[in-house]
């Protein structure tokens, strides 16, 4: 597992700021002006801050979801699909259930959470009982989910007389999430995100479930020897991760697009992986780092409007930052290995006999 120490996060931030300067210079902008605009564009006004928070909400939920599955040692890249399923579930309720908004909204969210959770567990079942690596299962299910959403939009849920991928009919306004003042960000979504992050932090640091999940994720053999039912824990990790992703799907459609669109997941499932890597899998760091990423995403859009630097520079910056953190971590480890304090790979030569080469015990856990 990758861990990040404070020292090399600082190193990485400095490195990527320097690179950002070079990037801006290369695109013909004044780096200082560009940096200023980046800040102004992301948090410079209530409107900008509200836009940044709109990105922060799904990104934080996606990253919190990933913290759980990564801790369990799962390379879960199915969050995109789980967000889409959540969005579909919420849309279904919003379209088909009558009644007051205060009753429909929570119902839509619950259905979204269940849908995301089941979709994630499907990847888990494929892995544990079908022998499909979660990377491929997750990726496949991402495509299936997006395809399903598109089918619904141009098929059963198409607008009257028009079949267009621009989305379904807008929901009736009383199932829109209530917003803060005149801005477009919803206090309901913000509250839920804060609660979700707190819950994940507590779950991973203060409960026996979180500790056992970490043990399963770090050393399946030892965890099984300690009597932990590994398969059950892995499935629950998928389910919990999926429920947060499903929640993100519901806040997207109820609080932002107000209809189902094919691109509802917005790449947050993948960007979330970068956030979690940068956080070194520590849940406490997820919210601030996700905010930083959201600010870069929104700020660079502003940059494009003001000085014509393409907003794709935001993605480049985010990617470089993560690469720098991983690189400085790897470099530090390598240097320690060279100095002989930490062996580069196996700490102890594994005996060549029967004992060390046991087959993975995961099959018998549930």
């Amino acid at each position: 597992m990758i861990t990040t120490s404070g020292r090399h996060v600082v190193l990485a931030v400095v490195g990527s700021v320097v690179l950002a300067f070079v990037l801006f210079l290369a695109s013909g902008a004044n780096p200082f002006e560009a940096m200023g605009l980046l800040v102004q564009g992301s948090i410079g006004s209530p409107r900008q801050l509200s836009t940044t928070l709109l990105v922060w909400i799904p990104l934080t939920l996606a990253a919190a979801s990933l913290v759980i599955t990564f801790s369990a040692g799962l390379w879960n890249i199915g969050v995109e699909g789980q967000i889409v399923l959540g969005a579909i579930g919420a849309t279904w309720v919003a379209r088909s259930v009558g009644g007051p908004g205060w009753a429909v909204i929570p119902l839509a969210m619950i259905v979204a959470v269940v849908a995301g959770s089941l979709w994630a567990m499907l990847a888990g079942v494929l892995k544990l009982y079908g022998g499909v690596n979660e990377i491929f299962g997750g990726l496949g299910l991402d495509f299936v989910a997006t395809g399903f959403a598109t089918y619904l939009i141009i098929g059963p849920w198409k607008r009257d007389g028009i079949a267009s991928t621009s989305g379904t009919e807008l929901f009736r306004e009383d199932v829109w999430l209530p917003t803060i003042g005149g801005e477009n960000v919803s206090w309901v979504a913000l509250t839920l995100v804060v609660l979700a992050v707190i819950a994940v932090v507590l779950l991973m640091s203060g409960t026996s479930f979180g500790l056992k999940l970490k043990a399963v994720g770090t050393n399946l053999h030892s965890a099984t020897r300690l009597g932990i039912p590994a398969n059950r824990y892995l499935l629950v990790a998928f389910a919990l991760g999926g429920s947060l992703a499903g929640l993100a799907g519901s806040t997207q459609v109820l609080g932002f697009t107000h209809k189902l669109v094919p691109s509802v997941s917005g790449g947050f499932g993948f960007l979330g992986i970068l956030v979690v890597l940068l956080a070194g899998f520590r849940p406490i760091l997820v919210a601030p780092i996700a905010f930083f990423f959201a600010a870069i995403t929104v700020g660079t859009t502003f940059l494009e409007l003001r000085i014509g630097v393409d907003s794709s520079v935001g993605g480049v910056l985010q990617g470089l930052l993560v690469l720098f953190v991983l690189l400085s971590g790897g470099w530090l480890r390598r240097r320690q290995a060279m100095a002989g304090t930490v062996p580069p790979e196996p700490a102890v030569p594994t005996p060549s006999g029967e004992v060390s080469a046991d087959p993975a015990p995961a099959a018998g856990g549930v």
């Binding site: 597992m1 861990t3 203060g206 409960t207 026996s208 479930f209 500790l211 056992k212 970490k214 043990a215 770090t218 050393n219 053999h221 030892s222 965890a223 099984t224 020897r225 300690l226 009597g227 932990i228 039912p229 062996p343 196996p346 700490a347 102890v348 030569p349 594994t350 005996p351 060549s352 006999g353 029967e354 004992v355 060390s356 046991d358 015990p361 018998g364 856990g365």
Partner: protein, 488 residues
Amino acid sequence: MLELTGIHKHYGPVRAVDGITLNVEGGSIHGVLGENGAGKSTLMKVLAGFITADSGLISLDGQNLPLGSTRLSLQSGVGLLHQDPLHCLPLPVLDNFMLGRPESFIVDRGAARVELLELAGRFGFTLDPEAPVRTLTVGERQQLEIIRLLSLGVRVLILDEPTTAISATQRERLFATLRTLASEGMTVLFVSHKLEEVAEICDRVSVLRHGQLIGSAELPTRPEELVEMMFGAMVSPVGRLEVPQGEPVLEVESVSVRHRLVTVEDLSLTVHASEVVGVAGLEGSGQQSLLRVAVGQTVPDSGSVRVGGHDVTGRGYRRHLAHGVHYLPADRLGEGLVEGLTIKEHFALAGDDEQGFILDWDRAARSATDKIGEFSVKGSLQSTPESLSGGNQQRLLLAMMPPEISLLVMEHPTRGLDIESADLVWTKLLARRDQGTAILFASADLDELLRYSDRIVVFFAGRVIAQLDAAGTDGEEIGHLIGGRAKT
């Protein structure tokens, strides 16, 4: 003449190879014998350039060999045949045969094919050049690897446990090939823990133990001499405290099981409360199967297993745990402890019965502090197991044992430990025994078996060939039995 001088290889506190000096005559088959963890594999990997030694020299016919590069070792004529040869499985035999040659960019498949068939024909191997390697048996893959190494001009051929996964016919073919090669001047190093094979094929044998060269002998020699070198000095048993034994705790009845090419037939064994049963035998004689069946890691093909009177046959590891079985594996870091989690976190995990859903970190810290004090684990609450020495890892595992254990199953409880740690481990284990815990342990250390067991079970080739009262036997008798022969 192959000369190894003063080879050292340490991993932190573990001395895998501890100053080995060894000369091997050209044109001979030289056996390297030792139990698991004796340092055989590490030494051979140093020789073949897979591992860089901390210090030492290797020379072949008076010329120093480059160290730490498999490519350069191969070019100098040293080739290692792995137990499970490293091939590119989807590629055909011919492509694998051509791998690793210092050749021009354009490959001459035609010429290579001719060479392959010619070499294979010489040794009576039948290899289809176009068959994907994944369709070959392990024995055939070894044959392919041998002729590949020969085509690269190898003068020293190292075989690491080559007979583990091959059939009897393939073994005969392999041995015939090795004899031919040796008679043509090849230096063959034959690494094994199987006495009878070494006796069958080698001209000379060197025995390693704890990373050191214990001695060398011309063959043939008396097997007990080799057993003694492998397992250590045979001391007479020390006076033991008679503890009255209780009810049967583990009852294994007529169990047959197949695990890792070792078939165990009709195994019956009963272990009572407050009894210590030691399991002896050469590695891979079936001891592992017994231990795995006892803890529910392997489901027997037939027969029954009862723990504390409950039938747990085929009920799985967790059910065994629920009946008070506890298992301490040989691979402490790989199967017992969790790298990256602190000692405090380990106690929070292990003290699970007391910990609810919400973790009480203060309690975990208190019990960790108490226990690491009691078991003198040299580490702090924040230490991670990978930073501990082998002895401290084992003490930590002992400290994490639940308070109530009816049956404790262990593999090599003191392997790799210094005397002080080993003594402490057994003091703690015997204290458990006095409280009524039944102990079943496998060990490659005759001294340990004799000193602490009430009864010793000896495995040979998948069968229990003797169950001895430890007080009425000695190292010589057990040594004979381990080698497959009753005392004459």
